[in-house]
């Protein structure tokens, strides 16, 4: 199996507060990897390092290394803008840009100078289809994205990320604010998407992790406690903490 992302002894702190205390983890290609753990475990910060969105946090200091396809992305010489095209991200709260549905999806492609009408339209259509949103919005692509429901907005954000044609998709608790039906639709979409993409899903919904991921990692207080196939982690965890967490004793 190919390793897509590898972190080595990754440490992160905000000022004096240590968030990650030396995390080494591999993310496999064309799989869904789930990062779970209670609030403050560092799982969200971890993925925001993977596409360098961490750069926008003030006074963050990072040490260690993060490789994507064997290349260190923490290298100062790396073009982080290009990196973010390869590593897309969906946030916990859906944040549509204040423009039309079509323009939201086309935002990324247009930055790459993909402006030609037909190519762009088919890319938008394809992305919306992959996010299972096409049928709901195909008649109103030019209306404001802010008019969509919460679940639709989150799938719009997913489609928007897909339109970047990334290799990796990072999802930061994408279903935290959504109802079960919307959640199901997103999970359905992710299941299809893993054929083409490497997916990292951060969630503290253990059931969701169990349902759709291939690998699962459990973080606690900035440390990777346990990592393995989802089946292994959920049925036969080797650490007591993991078991407690899965059973809902804390979190």
């Amino acid at each position: 199996m190919d390793i897509k992302i590898r972190t080595e002894e990754l440490r992160l702190s905000f000022g004096k507060r240590e968030i990650l205390k030396g995390v080494t983890v591999d993310v496999y290609k064309n799989k869904i990897t789930g990062f779970m753990g209670p609030a403050g475990s560092g799982k969200s910060s971890l993925i925001s390092i993977m596409n360098r969105m961490i750069d926008f946090e003030e006074n963050a200091t990072i040490s260690g290394r993060v490789f994507i396809d064997g290349e260190d992305i923490l290298d100062g010489e790396i073009d982080e803008v290009h990196l973010r095209r390869r590593v897309g991200m969906v946030f916990a709260v859906p944040i549509p840009l204040p423009r039309s549905i079509f323009d939201n999806i086309a935002y990324g492609p247009r930055l790459k100078n993909k402006n030609s009408g037909r190519e762009l339209r088919s890319l938008v259509q394809e992305s919306l289809k992959k996010a299972f949103l096409w049928d709901e919005v195909k008649d109103r692509l030019n209306s404001s994205a802010l008019k969509l429901s919460g679940g639709q907005q989150q799938r719009l954000c997913l489609a928007r990320t897909l339109a970047l044609e990334p290799e990796i998709i990072l999802l930061d608790e994408p279903c935290s604010g959504l109802d079960p039906i919307s959640t199901a639709k997103i999970e359905e979409a992710l299941n299809e998407l893993k054929k083409e993409y490497t997916i990292v899903l951060v969630s503290n919904n253990t059931k969701q992790i169990a349902r759709i991921t291939d690998y699962a990692a459990f973080f606690y207080m900035g440390t990777l406690i346990e990592y393995g196939t989802t089946e292994k982690v959920f049925t036969n965890p080797s650490e007591r903490k993991t078991e407690d967490y899965i059973q809902g004793k804390f979190g």
């Binding site: 994507i68 396809d69 290349e71 992305i73 010489e77 790396i78 073009d79 803008v81 290009h82 990196l83 390869r86």
Partner: protein, 287 residues
């Protein structure tokens, strides 16, 4: 993977830095040119003879601007006497007693009034206020009183709009708490609302002062521009600003330098006032 090649981004950042620096450059130029024209005369005639001199006869070698400094403060104080109480009570009325519709109408109306050119205020002063003062109170009408009234009216919009904002930003709970303790509306306003909006109200007065002390053309029109310190509110007077504007077009040599010295003094006064204003406003933010 592609390495950094963000030359455009760098270019943009340099341009924007240059833009941001332009403000500093302009400030620097303004200071340099006003000071470099104004300071030599201080050396030549003496700081004391300019700032505390009573005689302004620049073509005959006297550059005293003390009466104008006093007059500038007098008209500013006068403007506050007229504008502050009326403006503040108007703001209190609008924030505490008036309905929603009036409040909605208020902002654009005040913006419009703040936008009316000062020369228009000056003109109306000459047509209506000056004769009124002359006929009912005596003197030439062009006077400290007329100037104070005109400047007072001019700072209405500033005072009303900023103290209105300050009053409106007092939390509702303060009012409710006060009412719950059995206070009447006026007691609430007087004892609770005004004290908590105090620094905002103060800021509105200081900004109003800034506008009054810097006003030029309207003052020239109604002040009469006499060179003596007024002994009554009915006497004409000349401010620092109007001294510059009245004579700049004609002045050469030392006379022109004298006007720049006037400018230097005005600039210093304004900077001190600004400093006080930012101090008051910053304190409000901290609260």
């Amino acid at each position: 993977m592609i390495k950094k090649a963000l030359t455009k981004e760098h270019f943009v950042k340099y341009i924007l830095t240059a833009f941001a620096l332009s403000s500093l450059l302009f400030l620097f130029l303004i200071f340099i040119f006003i000071l470099s024209e104004g300071i030599p005369l201080f050396h030549k005639v003496g700081l004391k003879n300019i700032i505390f001199g009573f005689k302004w006869a620049p073509t005959k070698g006297s550059f005293g601007i003390f009466p104008m400094i006093v007059s500038s403060f007098l008209v500013t104080f006068g403007a506050l006497m007229v504008g502050a109480p009326l403006g503040l009570s108007c703001a209190i009325y609008l924030s505490e007693y008036s309905g929603k519709k009036l409040k909605l109408f208020l902002k654009p109306a005040l913006e419009l009034l703040a936008g009316i050119p000062s020369v228009v205020y000056g003109f109306l002063g000459v047509i209506y206020i000056v004769p009124l003062v002359r006929n009912f109170l005596g003197g030439p009408g062009f006077s400290l009183l007329a100037t104070s009234i005109i400047l007072g009216v001019m700072i209405f919009p500033t005072v009303i709009s900023i103290s209105f904002d300050a009053l409106m930003s007092v939390p509702k709970t303060y009012r409710e708490g006060s009412f719950a303790m059995g206070a009447t509306k006026w007691q609430t306003i007087y004892k609770v609302i005004i004290p908590s909006a105090r620094s905002g109200i103060l800021a509105s007065f200081i900004l109003g002062m800034g506008r009054a002390i810097g006003e030029t053309m309207a003052v020239i029109m109604v002040a009469g521009n006499a060179l003596r310190i007024p002994t009554s509110i009915l006497d004409p007077l000349r401010t620092l600003t109007s001294n510059i504007a009245l004579e700049l077009a004609y002045a050469t040599g030392d006379h022109r330098l004298g006007l720049f010295s006037t400018g230097v003094v005005l600039l210093v006064i304004i900077m001190i006032l600004n400093y006080i204003a930012t101090f008051a406003i910053r304190r409000r933010v901290l609260k």
